[in-house]
Subunit: 349 residues, 2 copies
């Protein structure tokens, strides 16, 4: 680790628009060797439904009907996590990967164009990885309208294209790939864009509190740890760290779309934080505000005596990143920025 | 493989209520060594929604609202699959694990009481494994009421306890673990029952055809293969094999709750089939009929010149299995029955 520059020189260099260190060229990708793997659900509660009539349901053609009483107790708001353990553990603590809104842990698995995602990337470098599906998404399940009265929001296929800085904003998506207007220089593998919306998960806008509760339960179960969190998980990462600052060794906020409790930033002063932003932000109507909020929160952490590095990737010479940085063609290059920073924090040996 | 008895002696022995061979005592569990891992979505279609007004949605507190036009094209009915590749490949083809109704691929991961599930078990024996979430479940996502008008069915926590031959039928579940009436000798890890309903996934009764279509797309992508399928996936396993008989080297039906097209059993005559049933079936109002349907289908396959072995586990000396055999305390013992049968079919070296 002595070959790496100090954090101070990294931050100083960033102020001049460079990373301040050469990202090591990886001649040979380290081997993927997983020797442990499992999954579990954590958190959640039992919700009671009452006053509904029983129903007879034929579950599969030919099978006799089963009488289902919809009244009773339901398991809701639990969260699914899958973990992988590498043969040679080099991370001092596990890395938790938390995805963004309308998505699931699939975000960090294989990229839409078939390259390995960040789960594999960090496993190859000896980190134990926990990849989870937030409450309501993927394998975490979701509650009935009796329990969650608000309707779920389903995103059309073109929505992430226009909103995640892949295309040139509103109206840039077309069902015809030849007519899509991509932001020039974009690193998203646009030729495989049609694979991406198949990962979309219906979402609610009313489940933030149960999601935070389940993430706290996850942290209580598996940390100390590093949390890498994306987009909507901005508030989840920061608020959960504010609830359990002693269990979070570092936070890596990848384009957080929201932040923690500004009244309690002092709690984060012992939790080093890295915040990353990609390209094309000035060309978008929403992203300058989102980034300003994130940077403002990082400034508050520093003002409270904490440590928060903000890396503007294009200013540091890493250009073309969409909002889905972990899927972009240069996803490994950005992962290396995170890895180098974590090494500098003494979290890898 | 020469140490193993012929299929004929196995089947003959089964007729006498025994397995006909000693299940080898595994002195040391083979190592788990995964050297490749990834995921993808397969199948599905684009569904169009039109005539709905646009909506402004604040996705996360503090973020500016985003205008969402609910009209447009949605990715629906795709299926998620995750794959793992062992260091030393001994299966001649991959194994596909297909879960039952109201569940997801989590079925085959860690058991509710924290033991390794069948994904790991078969990986340890050198099989490449594909574990999928059927259409509508888990990481496959689900469609809006605009696309699927029928409501989803949510199962209360006690439903599988009473319906899956864990408890003594209707009324046997209580929220108080001390008051639950378990079937005596049950192998389900009942002390960890409360973990199981957290895996439940809302389901529809109207998605069989899209599910079959997505499984066919999966088979087209990754087979030749062996398919191990459970419960509701009975019809999926048999019907998909009927659609792609040349791509399916063997079928393992674990308590199938439905079967294939009886008019087309001749298509299955080149696909060896193993069918397994657990314990307590005669004590349940529904299971004798379900099992009769399965055995009848196996008989039709044999009458058509095909090969179908039916193993009644308690008759073969393996007692106490609930419907969730892959989670039961003796799940490895049953996996070994499958493994031995696959070896006899020449599918493992």
């Amino acid at each position: 680790m002595s070959r790496l520059p100090s954090v101070r020189s990294l931050v100083a260099a960033l102020a001049f628009g460079g990373l301040g260190f050469a990202i090591p060229a990886v001649a040979e990708e380290p081997a993927l060797e997983i020797v442990g793997m499992g999954s579990f659900h954590v958190g959640g509660r039992l919700a009671e439904v009452s006053g509904q009539p029983p129903r007879d349901i034929v579950f599969t053609p030919g099978a006799p009907p089963a009488r289902i009483d919809p009244n009773g107790l339901y398991a809701v708001e639990q969260m699914y996590a899958q973990w992988f353990k590498p043969r040679t553990e080099r991370g001092r603590v596990p890395i938790l990967l938390w995805h963004g809104g309308g998505l699931s842990g699939v975000t960090y698995e294989t990229t839409p164009d078939g390259r390995e995602g960040w789960v594999n990337w960090f496993l190859r470098r000896g980190w134990t990885v926990y990849n989870s599906d937030a409450v309501e998404r993927g394998r975490s399940g979701w509650a009935s309208p009796d329990v969650w009265p608000a309707p779920a929001l389903h995103l059309p296929v073109g929505n992430p294209f226009e909103r995640f800085r892949i295309g040139q904003g509103e109206g840039s998506y077309s069902h015809d790939p030849a007519k899509r207007r991509v932001l020039p220089g974009n690193q998203f593998p646009t030729e495989a864009y049609d694979q991406f919306p198949r990962q979309l998960s219906p979402r609610w806008t009313t489940t933030d509190q149960p999601t935070i509760a389940a993430y706290i339960a996850l942290v209580d179960k598996v940390c100390p740890c590093v949390i890498v969190f994306h987009s909507q998980a901005g508030q989840f990462g920061f608020r959960v760290a504010q609830a359990r600052p002693d269990k979070v060794m570092a936070l890596v906020a990848v384009e957080p779309s929201s932040v923690g409790d500004p009244a309690r930033v002092d709690v984060l002063k012992a939790v080093p934080t890295l915040m990353l932003y990609g390209d094309f932000i000035e060309q978008d109507p929403r992203w300058p505000t989102i980034r300003r909020t994130g940077i403002g929160f990082a400034e508050r952490i520093r003002a409270a005596g904490g440590h928060a590095d903000v890396v503007d990737l294009p200013a540091a010479g890493i250009r073309g990143n969409s909002h889905m940085i972990m899927m972009d063609r240069n996803s490994s290059e950005v992962a290396q920025v995170i890895q180098t920073w974590l090494q500098q924090k003494g979290l890898w040996r």
